[in-house]
């Protein structure tokens, strides 16, 4: 079974620039999550999709972050404009369903904002 794919693996940008991350979940997984993991901290949930609808985006900084999952499969997370404090690993995870199912994590994208 193929795992969760993410790209790029690494990205370095200057502050005020824009960046986008891509995630392809495990086939058949209806639920997709984006997390932000700052160095020394645990992952923080940014947004959760059920198919192509948003279930929870309460911790997403909506003034600069956006995410979409148009066809209920792949997803993109965008930051525009980036700030220094956005430097983190952005993790994508997927699960078969929204409740009581294991989340499978991708390798993450390490973002450095200079």
């Amino acid at each position: 079974e193929a795992g969760v794919a993410q790209s790029p693996r690494y990205k370095i940008i200057e502050k005020r620039q824009s960046v986008a991350f891509w995630c392809n979940p495990i086939s058949g997984h209806a639920t997709l999550y984006w997390y932000q993991q700052i160095l020394g901290q645990g992952p923080k949930l940014l947004i959760q999709f059920q198919n192509n609808g948003v279930v929870d985006d309460s911790q997403l900084p909506k003034d600069r972050f956006s995410a979409e999952r148009l066809k209920g499969v792949d997803s993109t997370l965008k930051i525009q404009p980036a700030k220094l404090e956005d430097s983190a690993v952005y993790l994508c995870a997927s699960s078969f369903g929204p409740v009581d199912y294991e989340q499978y994590f991708g390798p993450g994208t390490r973002l450095t904002v200079t």
């Binding site: 901290q41 645990g42 992952p43 959760q48 009581d100 994590f105």
Partner: protein
């Protein structure tokens, strides 16, 4: 809002030593509980989970955790660690799709 506390930031053990990593959470209702592990250079992966039933949960690689509701705890244990257990361990709770992770405990096992 619910939160998760992992008391140990970094634990160093010798091979064959016993391990216990602490995890406490703050939430009064029903939660699902997880331990995830991240080996060097690898993805986060699930070690074990508790949804209901027997509060002593067995996971992969000889790990187990005990849910003590009265103490809001879900400590991870292993009777004898190996060098290959060197990794970062994260406790997490999920209440109605609101997943919260602890800050993690880095475990170093000396050969």
């Amino acid at each position: 809002a619910q939160s998760v506390s992992q008391h140990n930031h970094h634990v160093i053990l010798s091979e064959a030593a016993s391990l216990e990593l602490g995890c406490n959470y703050s939430y009064g209702g029903t939660v699902n509980l997880f331990w995830y592990v991240q080996y060097p250079g690898q993805h986060l992966q699930l070690l074990l989970k508790y949804f209901s039933g027997d509060p002593l949960v067995k996971g992969i690689k000889g790990f187990e955790a005990e849910f003590i509701k009265s103490k809001f705890s879900f400590n991870l244990r292993k009777p004898s660690v190996q060098w290959s257990d060197t990794a970062e361990y994260f406790c997490a709770i999920d209440n109605n799709n609101d997943m919260r992770f602890g800050a993690g405990t880095r475990l170093t096992v000396k050969p």
